[in-house]
Amino acid sequence: MSDALPIEVTSPTPLLELRGISKEFPGVKALDDVSFAVYPGEVHMLLGENGAGKSSLMKVLCGAYRADAGEFYYNGEKVAISSTADAQKLGIAVIFQEFSLVPYLDIAQNIFLGREPKGRIPGTIDRRRILADARRVLDTIGFDIDPSTTVDKLGVAQQQMVEIAKAISQNARILVMDEPTAALSDRETELLFALIARLKADGVSIVYISHRMAEVFALGDRITVLRDGRRIDGVKPADVSPDQLVRMMVGRNVDMTYPRHFAEKPGELLLEVKGLTASTGISDINIEVRRGEIVGLCGLVGSGRSEVARAIFGADPVTSGEIIFDGKAISGEPDLAARRGIALIPESRKSEGLALLRSVSDNLVVSALKKLFPSGLFDQRSAQRTADGLIRQLRIATPSARQTVGLLSGGNQQKVVIGKWLAAGSKLFIFDEPTRGIDIGAKSEIFALIDRLVAEGAAALMISSEQIEICHVCDRAYVMREGRIAGHLTRNELTEENIVRLGMHHA
């Protein structure tokens, strides 16, 4: 479908060219033979779903990751980028979504952090010069602000400007921006676009990662689409439609099916969420989950999916709205939700799901202590018996129930997290990315398990960034965008294209 080199050539030699970049992590091929070129003064859009390899490519570009294979060419000359210092020397700067500014230093100090002009007394900073230099850099990007303002007083957009000023002061020729408008208002976005136009005119190239279709077409000179760590295509905005781009991002279905008996007619209403709003950035969430159903909750990373899960479970405070579980309103801390029969299988099982230095048995019974030992007296042997039963039932590969849980593989750890809620007898299982970092074999086992749970009358709400999993496993799905439910897809409407279309920012 694509050659190693981009088709369109706007200038004879690219400013920077990556050829055949591969990067592998244990179990995942993050980048697979990706080639990518940036020409002087262009805005190059980088598109792809969550996990397509955009971030990895960006990190290879700025030297944070070292590529396993591949070559770099700068102005046609072969170079090596094996450290961030290498990238900086080539004039590559990255504006991450999380800024790296020091809040209590002023703008000038932040721009020249580590490169401050020396004062007459050793160890001091030439205050007058640093302010003048900062003023000059801020002028070049048209940012009118007093450079002695401390950064903690700035808004997100202004901090972003400081980051850009910092990059420009280091003579950056290639600016990589990761979703720069994600946290900006419309007006701030306009200002940023004006700045980008200005930088372009100065010959600065910009690699721009975005999830917003409108931006891709408004700003982009060229678009590169990544999927599953591979470069799918390089196109010009004039030659494609948004729909075509979506199809490129989603691609053909990988041959991976999880057979499931879909419920003929769903059971009784188990969870009803009405107008749920929380300070974590979700608002007016309305969701229903019935017994016997697996309901998907999808959308881009950062669209508020995990926040919905946490709010339902009581892990984050709710500001308004109602959560009705099994016919009764519920509010309060997770221990209350857990006692009522809600289970949360969190996204990061190592930091939120497990006590890694405790045993498999300890972890399996932790949520069921009250149920297993109503008298309040704990019995290690009885706990171990319960754990042994779950180990057999879930086929957890562990030498014994006394094994430290941190020594198990990702898939088996995930089974332990699920197992603790089986022991507790939960009715609603909220899965947040249940298959992240798990190999394919364990994945289908986990899905079979979820299927069995709902077949026995439980219900599941499943968050996943893998649209294909949602399509194969779920009875229906809600799609989130920017903290709200953007739409609902029934079984028949549940396709990857529909999920991506609803989840993308069109505005």
Partner: protein, 325 residues
């Protein structure tokens, strides 16, 4: 599946729990110290000296046992010593005023428990790190005690009350019986109750504990209240043993109690440790001090030796634990 077979072939690394192994090493160390002292000093193995060691260890243990629970949750209670002082002074006053030791004991326990509860509220409701909350509490309690006592010393308590700290029963000091009782209660609570299990779970990973449905805040309140109550108990023993109370009696108690917890193998990072380990820790600490006395080593060296033992014990723990991970 490959990973299943791979893991099935892996030997189970924990035939004995990590805790059991650590307690075992500590018992060994304590016995070793005993053996060395027995060789070096004739008077070490005398019954009187051994009972003396146990009685001294008991005071440190009472404070340190409650503290162990706090440290198991990855917290710290720096106010225990100051709590002992305030509780002792208040209990002493009540006994003097009412003439009723029982009322005094209850007041002492209540005062200690209340202080602990306040610590718990600061840690849970106000989310102040325990180190800082209890450090502040230390100053507050000191201030209260000095103001309350105004330089006075309480002295002279009923003979019956003094039996608690200095009396004997069947040839053993009464504090030693209390030591065994509370060692039993503490171990039972930590190992054999649901609350104990939850405390370990909280210490091992507070976020996961909360998301597993454990009422973390309530358990922390309990733990700090228990630590305070144990300080209250220590204050009674102290009062009865010394037959007097002054505002400054608590100042030399907190650091040895923390030392006993650490030497006993409880991790400051939480989730690992036992009450029995703390008992051995208190024993080792007392044995070393006792040995130095018997060998006429200047008391000025004692803090230095204590410090070295704490550092050694924690370093060895971290080494063995890293190997286990």
């Amino acid at each position: 599946m490959t990973d299943i077979t791979k893991e099935a072939l892996m030997p189970p690394r924990s035939f004995l729990s990590q805790d059991a192994i650590q307690v075992f090493y500590r018992l060994l160390a304590a016995l070793l110290i005993c053996a060395v002292l027995a060789v070096l000093s004739d008077s070490f193995l005398s019954l009187g000296n051994i009972l003396n060691v146990l009685r001294q260890a008991s005071l440190t243990f009472f404070i340190a046992s409650g503290l162990t629970l706090v440290v198991l949750t990855a917290g710290l209670d720096l106010s225990v010593g100051a709590n002992v002082a305030l509780s002792a002074c208040i209990a002493g006053t009540v006994i003097h005023k009412t003439g009723s030791p029982a009322l005094g004991i209850l007041t002492g326990l209540a005062c200690g428990g209340l202080v602990g509860l306040l610590n718990g509220v600061m840690v849970t409701a106000l989310r102040i790190p325990s180190f800082i909350a209890t450090y502040g509490m230390l100053w507050v309690l000191n201030g209260l005690t000095y103001w309350y006592m105004a330089g006075e010393t309480l002295h002279g308590f009923p003979a019956g009350f003094r039996q608690i700290g200095s009396g004997y029963l069947f040839g053993l000091p009464i504090p030693v019986y209390l030591l065994l009782v509370f060692l039993g209660i503490g171990t039972f609570f930590a190992q054999r109750t649901v609350w104990g299990q939850e405390i370990y779970a909280i210490g091992a990973n507070p976020v996961a504990a909360r998301l597993s449905g454990i009422p973390v805040a309530r358990r922390l309140l309990l733990v700090y209240a228990v630590s305070g109550t144990m300080a209250g108990l220590a204050s009674i023993i102290f009062l009865s043993r010394l037959n007097s109370a002054e505002a400054d009696i608590g100042e030399s108690l907190t650091l040895p109690a923390i030392a006993a917890v650490l030497i006993g193998g409880t991790s400051l990072f939480g989730g690992v440790g036992t009450v029995f380990g703390t008992f051995i820790g208190a024993l080792i600490l007392t044995l070393v001090l006792n040995g130095m006395n018997l060998l006429s080593v200047s008391a000025n060296w004692q803090p230095l030796v204590t410090g070295i033992i704490v550092i050694l014990a924690v370093w060895l723990d971290m080494k063995t634990r890293r190997r286990a991970q």
